[in-house]
Assembly symmetry: C3
Homo-oligomer: 421 residues x 3
């Protein structure tokens, strides 16, 4: 292929897949706003739009440089803003001689930035679901700013940025650990600091069921995520410039799909023994867990492995949802199970068919987990001290929508709100 | 164009259009979950996610081989699993010499598989809408497994697989008959075996109206389908490797859109004389029928024909909805009218502007119809004998959501459920 | 790059971005159907599907020729229908010699048509939101036909068609003025002729709050618009045939995103001082206003300008929403503020970083505004005389859904309708 054709296709690939990954933010929003009670549905919508806006700005201002620019073993550069390269500016300004410099990069500078930005937004999206219905709007936004400006970029610099974990041979193709577990650890830390929703865990040891308030909207969210995942994993080939890329991306999309199928089937099958019924939310989370599981190594050539990796992911997620309930970690949408737990499994599963080194994978999982969890604990703790993290009991009772936004999500519909929680 | 560029673009074309066709599953889900009563909205969501998962697995395990591998006149191979070719594995494994073998295929093996898989899922999606609100969850899943592993692939082997109908000159560019009528025949067989919803047809001859419970969600579904159809028809050019493909796909997208416009306008105009009012559901189904109608021959060069073919499709669909009501075939969303009836019209319409042979088209319609309908009848009948196909009257009354999943789709909203049906 | 590769990529670029722009119609539909009261949600859905169908047909029959074919200074051709070129027909008919003629055009004729068609549909979408809840269904459709056949194409011929404003150097990359302000002026004219909703502005000077009835659906709409805007602006590069295009489109997508982020942040920050609370609708409209603002010049190379232009757009929009309320222009979704006002700002902002001539930009804004506003006033006035534009007070009270369609959007849900409005 001609070099210029490669450049065009590589850049276009970043952009079109990036657009579909941005769309996953809408998927998380629908999943979450359909899962919470109606009295909190508006605030969760606003949180999700806001986190996407904040993530984009923070990654522009600070995050990208920290993750990718001048990475030594441990970290990139502390430097404000990132942008179009000088060669590109010259080219767009009419200097045709700059083309060869531009072409040498293989893809346009900002197409890569765009692709990386939608990844950081995904990480932030994971957190909002777990902490729904009790974390304060502005406290959440502050955490998102820290997560997307610092925590995620540091993890990214160790791995995709070329730092020490990458040099050790840590494999995480599209981010089972780097994106999904990172989001999951941040959510877990938040769940600990913010605490469970009032009334969720009763004194007699029983757990209050909080059913999703709008199932079609939840299902739409899952379809959006499933769709976006093709872009998430396929785009992570990071190129579309030859026969190898085309074959690899094709395998990746197929494996991604089969893993989700496997995760769904495993979770729906296990939901009856574990939860005593065919459980819609568990089944849907099983599909997501299948997707998370294959994300670390979607470029395998034996498709049956994708089904099995996804199925184990779905099973592990279902089990984890039960366990978290029992140890009283309140995760409104099951994000910790679907993203953190399945993400760990997926990162280990790379050793099965994609040739990962088990020891290195474990080191990566542990170190990233320890860093993200402790940095997130610290951040949540600091936010609690400075501005509080949790709405008052009264706000929780009447809903964040009325209290924080002065509106209801469904103002004309007669709803039966549960005053206990 | 360089051979490698062609390979990359052909493969990418399969993948990106395929992703948009997968998205049509979300469209069917929204259309259906907004059309059923609230008491059945969760189950229809689960059915739709499940059918996509099952279709993907069955097509991987059995269907694709039956449809495309070693097709003699009548059928492909009974052989388990399909996957990356040996040449592709060698290439990805680092053997650069394998590239020429890989390139010779014109596109990556799994990109084609992915594209075909989303088609089989579409066929299954058509069935769930018709049978909503009374078919049992697991019985439906068993039918989907048979449909996607055997029934659809056999039809496909006769046509796109290169079998006898294809050799006769049967034309069905993107599947008015192969996908849409096949789904419609399977739905019709199901509607006969499963029977109408309790109370739908009253003893005094009148018909109970069952209005869609969530119109914005239905409308969203139609927009998703309309959008996905560009991929459905455009991707069926099966290549993006030169000027002819680019021109053809452009015409296809424009014709697809104009046919949908024509179908919508015809249906909204006819809804008043036929149904006594401007009918939203009929109008929306008219757009879908327009899309189905053009699907057999979207690659025509005179755009006005697309408008007319679509408009007739919309009219035929509106009429068919009325007739099915009168002959007491209970189709919750009008899928038989929009997919089967308009699909037949579209397959005949190929003779107008795309040069189809009328006799051959009729043979194709009849033989495929006879095969799919009888195979589906047999399958539904066998499922009924083995495990039952229909929920009990009590479940129907209280809704499948509570009975089969133990949840409600909108648990906090106060809804007025009709105890009669 | 080879000429044929350029042709394929240019055409494909029009198509794939065009599909995503079509998707924006679903975004407007969701935004609007979630913003209106439940009693009008079905009609607004039907209006949006209908306007897309009508726009497509009108632009095929009349609009495209008027905008692009044989444009002298003032206007294109009055000629029915547009279609595949003769050279393309010859090529598809098997005449390989026609390829060079086809290639010379740079892209397939109908790929460009498709891309332009989805733009005209966007313009029409803006109008439906402002006039929701009181404009008659068929009157609205007639206006859409005039807007998409005549008004928008005339503006387009002056600018993108190569007419007098283009020759003066008027810059509007993707249509801050040409698409968004045009839609906004048409909406403003409609708001004046149709008048405010009954009871919106009370005699004591206070304004009745009409909250969105379904916030998650509104939020979904905003995400769809944000996503589609990448295509709207990126596709407006009108080519993907080399390194310059790839770099430019990458910058465009990043700037588009950053402007939306800036608009959201500015609006949410200003919503408290201006409206007395953190306002979800104002914040979401701020993101849209950011997108509108950057649309006239998204191809800038300094990304921080995009943030600032978007932020000012969001601020201007929030302020405008307040002012329109005070001067009693009833705009149900805030479309005039987000599209017209922010569109004017965006067209001026071109002078900051994209090198526009301030005087020319002002001339363009004024002349287009004067033309679209007066032509729309005339059209709305004529429609009012011929068939009426406004539903009766009784219809307004009971809702257009029941009155015009005989259905309810949410028939099973118990809703509290406000009898005053």
């Amino acid at each position: 292929m001609a070099q210029e054709t490669q450049f065009v296709l590589n850049s276009f690939s970043f952009l079109i897949w990036g657009v579909l990954i941005m769309w996953m933010c809408a998927g998380f929003t629908m999943l979450e706003s359909g899962s919470v009670r109606t009295k909190n549905a508006s605030v969760i919508c606003l949180k999700n739009v806001g986190l996407y806006a904040i993530a984009g700005l923070m990654f522009y201002l600070i995050g990208y440089n920290l993750m990718y620019v001048g990475v030594d073993d441990l970290i990139g550069s502390f430097r404000f803003t990132y942008g179009t390269s000088e060669a590109e500016k010259a080219l767009l300004g009419g200097d045709a001689d700059a083309a060869s410099d531009v072409l040498e990069n293989g893809y346009s500078v900002m197409s890569d930035w765009f692709f990386q930005m939608v990844f950081v937004a995904t990480t932030a999206s994971i957190v909002s679901g777990t902490l729904a219905e009790r974390v304060r709007l502005w406290s959440f936004f502050v955490f998102v700013a820290v997560l997307t400006a610092f925590i995620y970029p540091v993890v990214g610099s160790w791995t995709w940025g070329g730092g020490w974990l990458s040099q050790m041979g840590f494999q995480d193709f599209a981010g089972s650990t780097i994106v999904h577990s990172t989001g999951g650890w941040a959510a877990l830390a938040g769940a600990i600091i913010v605490g469970a929703r009032h009334g969720k865990y009763r004194e007699d040891g029983s757990v209050k069921v909080t059913a999703p308030s709008n199932v079609p909207v939840v299902t739409l969210g899952v379809f959006i995520l499933w769709m976006g995942w093709f872009a998430f994993n396929g785009g992570s080939q990071l190129a579309l410039s030859g026969v190898v890329d085309a074959v690899a991306i094709s395998n990746i999309l197929v494996n991604t799909n089969l893993a989700a199928c496997g995760g769904f089937i495993a979770a729906i099958a296990l939901s009856r023994p574990i939860f005593g019924r065919v459980d819609l939310m568990v089944s849907l989370n099983g599909a997501i867990a299948g997707l998370v599981s294959i994300t670390a190594g979607p470029d395998i050539v034996h498709q049956y492995w994708a089904i099995m990796i996804g199925a184990v992911g779905g099973a592990v997620c279902a089990l984890s949802m039960k366990i978290l309930e029992q140890i009283r970690v309140d995760d409104v949408v099951g994000a910790i199970s679907a993203h953190l737990v399945a993400g760990i499994w997926g990162t280990l599963a790379v050793c099965i068919a994609a040739g990962g080194n088990l020891l290195v994978q474990i080191v990566g999982i542990l170190v990233i987990g320890a860093f993200v969890f402790s940095a997130s604990m610290l951040t949540w703790y600091a936010i609690r001290q400075l501005m509080g993290v949790r709405v008052t009991l009264d706000v929780e009772r009447h809903g964040q929508d009325v209290a924080e936004l002065g509106i209801e999500a469904y103002p004309e519909f007669v709803v039966l709100q549960d005053p206990d929680l």
